[in-house]
Amino acid sequence: MKTLSVPNLLGIKHLVKEDIDLIFETADHFKEVINRPIKKVPSLRDITIANLFFENSTRTKLSFELAEKRLSADVINFSASGSSVKKGETLIDTVNNILSMKVDIIVMRHPDVGAHEFLSRHVNTKIINAGDGTHEHPTQALLDSFSIRERLGDVAGKKVVIVGDILHSRVALSNIYALKLQGAEVKVCGPVTLIPKYIESLGVGVETDLRKALEWADVANMLRVQNERMDIKYFPSTREYTQLYGVNKKLLNSINSEVTIMHPGPINRGVEITSDVADSDQAIILNQVENGVAIRMACIYLLASQIKQ
């Protein structure tokens, strides 16, 4: 049986192209499963998974939990706002306590960059990164690429622009790694204050004019402005941000080619994207959500199969 090249899913930057191909092949199968009348397989009846969310999440947490349940794993959930440090217990202690209860896989979202890599060096378990600060959100990038592949046939050679708050976005960074690995061309677009100064070192282009970016792109992935991660104001007002970087139907209609619109959610309607775009056929936002479950099933299944081997 084919297996992933990594023992944990900490970030896209640790994967090779064959890993992504394997995850997609597996996800194709699970996508068919979750569209059956009985949306469940017994594959992970002997596996226990803990979802540790040290940061708020609705869709990612639900998506992981559904994926786990559809694989028949036993699931426990742990949520805490802020990091474990604030509660007086270290992250290592929290996780070791949970592992003592014979948990096999940890799915974790954490506000601190590198928390998963840190954890992987100090505890003995399988870890899936469900988002760490402004670093990576690998399953989101995988489901985004999977959705592009589903809509456009392939990711290789496609032109993808990621629009918005690149500086505070783990979705952007993981997407850049995933898209580059699959041979897509990538640009980022947004106010210079929200684009990391050295972003071009990752092999992506920078465009500050949204119209030009959309004219260039096959796909536009619209990001939410991460106000909660900002220590200062990076632009004067939401109103002005929308004038410069909001996508609306009028703008899309004025562009010759048809751009596929994506959004990792939650959407701020009327800010980065208007309702007439979000609800149009050009947008694949809900397909992304559906694919999220299949992708997460694939990732969990592939890592769990390493335990069984």
Binding site: V85, D112, G114, R121, G133, L173, K197, D231
Partner: protein, 418 residues
């Protein structure tokens, strides 16, 4: 304790025995005889160390121990032992204890604690009360008690006028003001050097600009006020060139660099190991090269270990929660002698900093006080946790190449061997 050092190569350009292999007899703390084949008198211990080199005792002008306040990180007593075994007979002790070294009584406390030990402690007083950056501390009083300079350790002073007044005020008594090069507003919540690695890892970056803007500001202030200023732990290429220009203009400016910034780059950060979380942040290879060049051309006056012990509870954490700092006394010599060569390295940890802080230079000459570092340049190994003598083990140098070995020191009549 009387000792006879057998077959030691003297490394002291000021000594007539420089580069000679000799026996050195030390009696009652003084160098009583330097000659070939001295026989060991009674009441004297003969010391034979492989490929032994002796130099004047080393001075590390940026060391933190924690005591008082953070004894779990390091006590003064153990810290002194670490310094002595690492080759240092003199240290400048930073003011970042609790309470801060911001008064004459604190300076006296530290001096008293170190009395009778093999290491001379020279406290560096806080520039401002409680190192809060708002009100100047009693600098003259501290200097009278033995403080050698004034610095709010690792805190960039936001108020430019405060630095201006400090530079003017200290001229009455020749006080040395130090200003940590960091513009807090530009640095923001940055954790590491802003660059390719911070981008790749999603870590919030502190741009080199934060340091360079502060250096530029302080140089403007110094040009206006006169007086003398020291900028500790510079870390960027442009800081070197700014200070080089200022020196060429004739400003009384000196600067130093930590050993970490000469040996480690931000390429190490991909492991998210908090031992690499240091202030100023680890920079790029280009910066390292410029810093080494700055040492060679005299722009950078001396090297410090910037030894800063942090307890494991505050280091073995998610990267953003860990406290900045690395220990460095144990690794300074073995990390640098290969790259810099003995002539440059020894100068930058003896005569150069001693002159700037107004300390006397010793020499390896008969009749002089014996203040010696004992070491060899031979042998290569990997620096491991087992080489750490400090209470805290937060070394950024673990796993890296160590060339040579420090045997210890002789100072104040005490032989300390590692």
């Amino acid at each position: 304790m009387n000792i006879l050092l057998k077959s030691a190569i003297v490394f002291d350009p000021k000594s007539t025995h420089h580069n000679q292999t000799v026996d050195v007899l030390i009696e009652n703390g003084l160098i009583s005889k330097i000659d070939n084949n001295i026989s060991c008198p009674t009441n004297c211990e003969e010391i034979n160390l492989e490929n032994l080199i002796i130099s004047n005792g080393w001075f590390d002008a940026s060391v933190s121990f924690g005591e008082p306040g953070y004894e779990d990180r390091e006590t003064i007593n153990n810290g002194i032992e670490v310094a002595a075994k690492s080759g240092f007979t003199q240290i400048g002790l930073n003011s970042n204890c609790y309470p801060f070294t911001d008064s004459k009584s604190m300076v006296n406390f530290l001096k008293t604690k170190a009395a009778g030990t093999p290491v001379n402690i020279y406290p560096i007083g806080s520039l401002t009360k409680k190192s809060e950056g708002t009100e100047i501390a009693e600098l003259y009083d501290m200097q009278q008690a033995g403080a050698i300079a004034f610095n709010d350790y690792k805190k960039g002073t936001k108020n430019a006028n405060l630095i201006k007044i400090a530079l003017q005020y200290t001229q009455s008594f020749g006080g040395l003001v130090m200003s940590y090069p960091n513009n807090c507003n530009i640095a923001g919540e940055g954790l590491v050097n802003e660059g390719i690695n911070s981008t790749r890892l999603g870590l919030k970056g502190t741009p080199a600009l934060a340091e360079e803007l502060q250096v530029s500001r302080d140089l403007f202030l110094l040009e206006y006020t006169g007086g003398k200023l020291h900028i500790p732990t510079i870390s960027t290429q442009k800081s070197v060139s700014l200070i080089k220009e200022a020196k060429a203009k004739g400003l009384n400016i000196t600067c130093s660099v930590s050993a970490d910034h000469l040996t480690i780059t931000d390429d190490e950060l991909s492991s998210f190991d908090a031992n690499y979380k240091i202030a100023p942040p680890l920079r790029t290879q280009q910066d390292v090269n410029a810093l080494i060049e700055g040492l060679k051309d005299g722009t950078i006056d001396f090297i410090t270990s910037d030894h800063d012990p942090i307890d494991i509870e505050n280091k073995k954490l998610e990267f953003s929660h860990a406290i900045d700092g690395t220990i460095g006394l144990e690794s300074l010599f073995v990390s640098l002698q290969d790259t810099l060569g003995l002539d440059l390295l020894i100068e930058k940890i003896t005569t150069a900093p001693q002159t700037i802080f107004g300390l006397s230079n010793s020499t390896i000459t008969e009749g002089e006080k014996a203040n010696l570092s004992l070491f060899t340049t031979k042998g290569t190994k990997t620096f491991t946790e087992e080489d750490i003598l400090s209470t805290s083990t937060n070394s950024a140098y673990i796993g890296k190449k160590a060339t040579g070995k420090v045997y210890g020191t002789y100072n104040n009549g005490i032989l300390t061997l590692a």
